[in-house]
């Protein structure tokens, strides 16, 4: 295993712990917006798709990554917008 991989594992494990800690106490009222907001964040694949689709690595790689970019963009834009739409409706008495 290369050093880059091990560093990746550090990031993965620590980010998981941070995730558990900050999300554990979220009240049930916010579970749906939390899920759709987190969902939008999982569209981070967009970043990787830009790198692969934009770097001219052959037709096949470009097509696959381009499709990935389209799906990830729908996920990101739709996810953040619909989460905002929901949270706008939450109000105190």
């Amino acid at each position: 295993m290369t050093g880059e991989w091990i560093l990746g594992l550090y990031v993965f494990v620590l980010a998981s712990l941070v995730g558990f800690e900050i999300i554990r106490k979220v009240p049930p009222t916010l579970h749906t917006p939390l899920m759709s907001g987190a969902n939008a964040i999982s569209g981070i694949t967009l970043v990787g798709a830009v790198l692969v689709a934009g770097s001219g690595q052959g037709t096949m790689a470009t097509v696959l990554a381009g499709l990935a970019l389209f799906l990830a963009t729908v996920n990101v834009v739709g996810g953040f917008l619909v989460t905002d739409r929901m949270l706008r409706m939450f109000r105190k008495r």
């Binding site: 995730g19 917006p33 830009v50 770097s55 990935a68 799906l71 963009t73 729908v74 996810g79």
Partner: protein, 458 residues
């Protein structure tokens, strides 16, 4: 832009994701939290577009513009009752994007194939991403009704799925260790797509909250795997955050139904398995009219409304809010008690009530609500059944141990229900036969607006 500057922006994005998720945890700050996370994503996307390696723009622009249009359209047009389907769809898109990105990286790695570590990440990205795609499609289908909501099973279903899973794991490892088996990748993807179908088809529609939460975690893990594949720590980090969120929500949902994840996955239980429930009980019930029930409500000092999915299915959230308004006008304390599995995904009922303009500080979670039950004059149960079934306290019952809203501990209970038939679980509900329970047999919307009208005329 030099690479280190890009990394600094990625770190800023990571901070914004964590900070945003933290702020998403409180009602007052949630909207800004979502905004911060979106800003993090925008920064990451912008700085990536400036990457020196990015040389061809046509595909990027087409995909970004088309994706933005479709995403905006979906987010604007979706009805709140269909939110679980939309989140399920987004899970499928996220999983699909990660699988495709992993595949693209495999193709781009050339004839010699990737190194072992990268190969393993690629294989995992394809595997988890593809399972997420078809699993989510089935979940959406069951929620939307274009697939059977009942558990679909076939002979040797569990053994066949287990065999498929083991074969795929083996294929993934082979793909990592032996670069020359790269052509196996399409077979891995096809097998994983099949596995997603095989895992979710046997799960009943009532268990979809668990499935949606778990697939949300999978979509995060797939993004992490894709991050390992392309050596990008921001993907690894963001994917891990989402994976953690999905697993926590999965745990909440399982606890709400008092079932283990294994039981949900392999139990083939929930949402009408075809066997008819027990016949209507012969025990007496006290039926009432809206007029009579309004007297009880109008002169109470505290009221709790328990909305079940039947309320949302009847689109009666607005009628519930109107009843709340007339009671509040009379100086009565009104709250809503929300069971964790009241909706079709975690927190769904809260969103539906927020849409009907019910303030979130009137929504009580299970523990809070149960603490208040003994001091409550009237509980109004609308379209809920199993989550208020006192049989859960009976160790002999099939739903023994399931966390319930203890509405039978309130002074009076008014149950609004179309008929006396048992719920999903097919279990008779002794609540209906208690001395303190009044039954108002009517459609949820009609009953609630009649109650509001009668209370106003008191």
């Amino acid at each position: 832009m030099p690479p280190f500057a890009q990394d600094l922006v990625y770190i800023a994005s990571a901070v914004l994701f964590v900070w945003g998720l933290k702020r998403l945890g409180h009602p007052e700050t949630a909207r800004s939290g979502n905004g911060l996370a979106a800003l993090g994503m925008l920064l990451a996307a912008a700085v990536t577009l400036l990457d020196r390696g990015v040389v061809s723009w046509t595909v990027l622009l087409v995909a970004l513009v088309a994706g933005t249009l479709v995403g905006t359209l979906l987010a604007r047009s979706i009805r709140m009752t269909a939110m679980p389907q939309l989140v399920g769809t987004f899970n499928a898109l996220g999983g699909g994007a990660s699988a495709l990105l992993a595949a693209a990286e495999l193709v781009a790695s050339g004839p010699n194939g990737p190194s072992t570590g990268v190969g393993l990440a690629i294989a995992l990205g394809i595997l988890v991403g593809s399972v997420t795609v078809t699993g989510s499609v089935v979940a959406v289908g069951k929620l939307q009704g274009f697939m059977p909501s009942r558990p679909v099973t076939w002979p040797l279903q569990r053994s066949a799925s287990a065999l498929l899973a083991v074969t795929l794991a083996g294929t993934a490892i082979a793909l990592a260790l032996l670069p020359e088996v790269g052509p196996l990748a399409p077979a891995l993807a096809a097998g994983a797509l099949l596995l997603g179908l095989a895992l979710v088809l046997p799960i009943g529609g009532a268990d979809m909250p668990v499935v949606i939460s778990l697939l949300n975690a999978y979509s995060g893990l797939a993004a992490s795997a894709a991050g390992f594949a392309i050596g990008n720590p921001l993907l690894v980090l963001a994917g891990a955050l989402v994976g953690a969120a999905g697993l926590i929500l999965t745990h909440h949902m399982c606890r709400g139904m008092n079932r283990s994840l294994a039981n949900v996955a392999f139990g083939a239980f929930g949402a009408g398995d075809g066997t008819p429930g027990p016949a209507e009980s012969d025990a007496p019930v006290r039926r009432t009219t809206a007029e009579e029930a309004a007297l009880l409500l109008g002169y109470a000092s505290s009221v709790i409304i328990v909305p079940g999915y039947g309320l949302a299915a009847a689109q009666a959230q607005h009628e519930a809010r109107k009843l709340m308004d007339v009671l509040v006008d009379r100086g009565i304390t009104v709250n809503f008690a929300i069971h964790p599995v009241a909706g079709r995904m975690p927190g769904h009922m809260n969103v539906l009530l927020a849409e009907a303009d019910v303030p979130y500080d009137r929504l009580l979670d299970l523990e809070d609500a149960n603490a208040r039950m003994p001091r409550t004059d009237v509980v109004v149960v609308v379209g809920a059944n199993d989550v208020v079934n006192p049989s859960a306290r009976d160790p002999e019952s099939t739903i023994a141990g399931m966390p319930i809203l203890e509405v039978d501990r309130a002074a009076n209970t008014l149950v609004v229900k179309r008929s006396l038939s048992p719920g999903f679980a097919g279990i008779p509900n002794p609540l209906f036969h208690l001395e303190s329970t009044l039954m108002l047999l009517d459609d949820a919307g009609a009953a609630l607006s009649a109650l509001a009208r009668e209370v106003r005329e008191l």
